[in-house]
Amino acid sequence: MTMVDAILGDFFWRALLGGLGVAVVAGPLGCFVVWRRMAYFGDTLAHSALLGIALSFLISLPLNLAVIVTCVGIALLLVLLSRTRVLATDTLLGILAHSTLAIGLVAISFMPDVRVDLTGLLFGDLLAMTRNDLLWIYGGAVVVLTLLIVLWRGLLMSTIHEELARVEGVPVERLRLALMLMFSLVIAVAMKIVGVLLITALLVIPAATARRLARNPEHMVGLAIMFGFIAVSGGLAMSWYLDTPAGPSVVVTAFLAFLLVYAGARNRHD
């Protein structure tokens, strides 16, 4: 048995590798969630993932693909609805977030021959990570990181000042779509780690923690990835030694790091 096989053959190492892979993309995307005030938007997309899962059983599509397609669809729907200005965006998000989650749950209950681990979907099932999951995570991470690096300047500029970016020739709308696509991808792969209910936490908390110590945007991204690593490894360790559920343990660790950093660096404002 080779070294790689030994590592991939062990559920604990698979969980750790998967978690770290997700943290690498959750870091930069989480920063955009914080900068663009998209926390509620991310939540809505994550919830709609459950609808995607129901869909995947209904038309027997691969699970990850169904989740990506549903998230992209909901994201587009949100953009269209918010343009009509009939309802405020946060109201729309509130409606869609919970409706898609509820429809997903109802739809799954109609499929008696499908046995679904609902707790795993809602709160994550990190320790049941398969080699196939790892493939999805690292494939997704390569796609998202490549896109982020290529589009970085435009994404950052349109986040700082949308009109200024537009005048300077940044394709703001197309970048917004690209960002949504990346979110959908990350939700599809991160679902396994912390579940649809806690994904936003994995995006927001490490980024918010990083903000306290960062001097520029790239620095913040690097720190967010680091705090993501800490959350994943700390959460797994907690789960291992205290026999706590892995997904929530990751979020609790992230939150502890957040508290520590904010308590320790109270007087810094940059």
Binding site: V34, W35, R36, R37, R153, L156, M157, T159, I160, H161, E163, L164, R166, V167, E168, A208, R211, A214, R215, N216, P217, H219, M220, H269, D270
Partner: protein
Amino acid sequence: MTDPLVQLEQLTIRFDDRVAVDHVNLTVSRGDIVTIIGPNGAGKTTLIKAILGLQKATTGRIRVTPGLVVGYVPQHLSLETTLPLSVRRFMALTGRNATDCEKALERTGVRHLLNASIHHLSGGERQRLLLARALARQPDLLVLDEPAQGVDINGQAALYELIRELRDELHCGVIMISHDLHLVMAATDHVICLNQHVCCSGYPADISTDPAFVETFGQRVAESLAVYHHHHNHRHNLHGDVVPAGSHQGGCQHDHG
């Protein structure tokens, strides 16, 4: 040299039932400084956004010289404090090299802030940073939406002076919105008084006696501007010394004596 950069022909912009901009004709050429004044809700910002390509025309045409590089100084730079950003990094986002960026900061007088966080800048410093950003792009047209907002009165005069100098150095066109009537009158070539439609336009000295201007801004404002012009057939430099008016286009005809 009259090389039109932007031409608006019968531009009309409607939002639902409300007319924001009504049949406006406007030309900005190289070397021009055009200032738009007008009461709140007059459609000034909408007009500027149409020129920037951020707002579509309902009817009429917006002609922009192909390949035009626009330097834009927006009204507010409302920055998300969750995004840490230094002046240096913000300048680098123009895509220009570090030397160009530092030169532009030097020109607008804020090079010493290179490593400062943009969240810590004062109103005046922020406007100068935005101006430097626009400058670094080597614009053909500078578009400024109330550039002197949040700047103290001495700073305002200096800022308008700087804009004039930049116009000469870059030989670009300038179009700006302003509320600072007195300063506008001294620093601009061409004033457009907008109240949905162009109610009057012309050289600063002429416009203050225009009946439409008097109607829009009231007799008192118009009179104070006329008086201002009479007394200020000269300019002050940054230290407050009187300097000759030079080529004050169409300036007042009065004799100082």
